[in-house]
Symmetry: C2
Subunit: 314 residues, 2 copies
Amino acid sequence: MKVAVLSGGVGGARFLLGVREHFAGTGTEITAIVNVGDDMWLTGVRIAPDLDSIMYALAGVNDTERGWGRAGETERVSAELRAHGVGWPWFTLGDLDLGTHLTRTHYLREGLGLAEATRRITERWPLGVTLVPSTNDEIETHVLTAEGTMHFQEWWTRHRAAIPALGFEYRGSEAATPAPGVLEAIAAADLILVAPSNPVVSIAPILAIPGIRQAITDAPAPVIGLSPIIAGAVVRGMADACLTAIGVATAADAVALHYGARSRGGLLDAWLVDSADAAVVPVIEGAGIRAAAVPLWMTDPATTAEIVRAATAV
Amino acid sequence: MKVAVLSGGVGGARFLLGVREHFAGTGTEITAIVNVGDDMWLTGVRIAPDLDSIMYALAGVNDTERGWGRAGETERVSAELRAHGVGWPWFTLGDLDLGTHLTRTHYLREGLGLAEATRRITERWPLGVTLVPSTNDEIETHVLTAEGTMHFQEWWTRHRAAIPALGFEYRGSEAATPAPGVLEAIAAADLILVAPSNPVVSIAPILAIPGIRQAITDAPAPVIGLSPIIAGAVVRGMADACLTAIGVATAADAVALHYGARSRGGLLDAWLVDSADAAVVPVIEGAGIRAAAVPLWMTDPATTAEIVRAATAV
């Protein structure tokens, strides 16, 4: 069996731990198609936060207490960059993390694409999931605000999404093409999952790359999404600030309707909401999307595997 | 007063500490014109060993015990690169040092020249010496051996110069131009010093850049060199392996004659040898180069300042 998962970073990583756990021992090939809209060049180094968050979590080397980055991290290099006044002082560049960035930069400067660089980087650990960036091209999510337009990282990490977003741009996406393996994974999948990642800055930048949405529309596999909203609040992160900007309510049914039914030109065949949102199941089904309500809190891989099991049964 | 110093890395750094000490409080402007032939790209990062060695020494943040690099250094990032199998496992990339490399890479990727990047990097500390790279262009010293041609760093650091060198190439130097400030510093100098750096891989790559040798020939200031050879042995490093390759004996007078008298188309007006080599003073003077024998061991900045005082008096 083959499973393709559209995924952002930390939330996607947590979800993928459950996907891996659920399919463990079944010979299922899991491919994560990962957002790269948060990627950036910083002090000459290519940073890919979502790819790395997923890799670290699947490798078991992530910092589970802090919730992001590497366990046992230090910031020796970052302190030097601050002393020199370069880089973004508000953006943590851990030393172990920098090892990943430099490895990626090395491959990119050698002329390899991000997908091949990612393949080589992830070879270090037996992840049980194939990570494929959505594109080898450099696309950047920018946030429109009353104070001007800024890179997503600046809005998210520096300003903690406190400046009201007026909209989002996925710069470069119009001219981007899917990375090698993306369309193939979608076409070959027996199941396509949309992780409970941020719809606006994790999933949308993937779908903004010409060809990917169409491939999903044409895919023989069912497309099943999971709500990143539980009881009117985000599971993690600041997705509400993003949804508000694009006029979507912070609600499990609103996000489903935003994605839309595949039978009506949208993305989804089915949608899982949390038990707390069981009341909106009819609304979602009325929009042509099968729905079910189950506990959606991804507290640990075993619990998340149970969520994935529910997703395959909806 | 203005002093220009042609210099390599660690030996040059030690010499410059003495130059600074000697001229302290006199308002003398000291400019070090620094070799960049050892520079390289490694994992997408630009490394400039000679510039950094000098900067760290003048800033007082160098590792005096180990003799190179930063004091209190760690290698967290390097260990990650090794785990990923990229970079040169035999080339130490310290974390603090990497902060410098990333800062430089940041400026270079922004489109600045190495000279301007160096100016900004060195602003962090009151060095008392202006560091100017010999060129903004990328030149690379390569070593010809029976086992093939390799980058100087590979020959020097990996093989400890144990593979006999058959010759040296300063790749890219023919097309290189002096960095902004180099010709100006030479022309404006009241004194030009040739540091007791490696003649073959530190001083020669500077002189290989078209225009620099001519500027020195034309300069109004006296050109005074110091022998890197004492009693037939190198003061530090493996200059003997380099000199042998170009057919120059490891001897204080041989190096002077190799540089040649400025009055006869060479580089030098005067040359200092160690007291142990006093016997060769007449040989050097016979070649048209004023010479004197004084203690040349640069044991500390005060002793080195005394050497510089002797150089100004020869």
